[in-house]
Amino acid sequence: MEKTLNRIRPVSDPEAMYFLQVSWEKDLGAGFGITLSDGQCAWTGAVSEAEISREAADVEMNREKYVGELKKALIAGEESAGRYNFAISRDDENMECHFSYERNLKDGSFRLGSLKLQKVLSPVEVVKELIGYCLDCLGRLQSKTEHLQKENERLFRCWSDTEKRLEKCVEAKEELEADLYNRFILVLNEKKAKIRNLQKLLNEAKESAAAAKYTR
């Protein structure tokens, strides 16, 4: 069961504040429940899948698009602030309340949907449930935050370690290059010394042969 809880102010009485809880199974488009409370009284109602289809047809909107609008109006909360209006009309005599929601446009508004809510006989249980729901969400979110915080610290350490290993690799590469060149030079210069020596001996042998030939 998915749930959201938001604060709303009815257009008919902007000073008043109500808490709107919407609940649904998997997909809002398959139907949803509404609980409305002013902190003292509470009303509940539901909108079925068929009613959603009918409302969508009434406003001549594609059903998927209509459900998208419902989500923004009823669930999104602060993100949709100002774009949707709510009207609450209480009928305490009949223990009812008429709740409607409309989309606010630049040049007017159009009704999205409405339903009749029944007054709850034991509103204190609803109030407790609302506060309890909030505390449970807070608890879960707190755990998630702590987990993310730990994960971030872990990722930072991993990144930091890898940066150090990269630095070491770059250093090692530079050291390897320098080391190899030093070794190569030693070996090459040994061979060059050998060559110089052999050339000297060859020159001496040639001079000796030339001198012997001259003597002869």
Partner: protein, 39 residues
């Protein structure tokens, strides 16, 4: 000229490294840099 060619052939190998003069890091790096990759 043929004489110059012969002189360089005596003094330097085909990679431009001297047969007799000791080399250092700078000179060896230069020799290596002149060597084509496909060699």
């Amino acid at each position: 000229s043929p004489d110059t060619k012969e002189h360089f052939a005596r003094e330097y190998d085909c990679y431009g490294d001297s047969y007799t003069a000791d080399t250092d890091v700078t000179q060896l790096k230069e020799v290596f840099s002149r060597m084509k990759d496909n060699e």
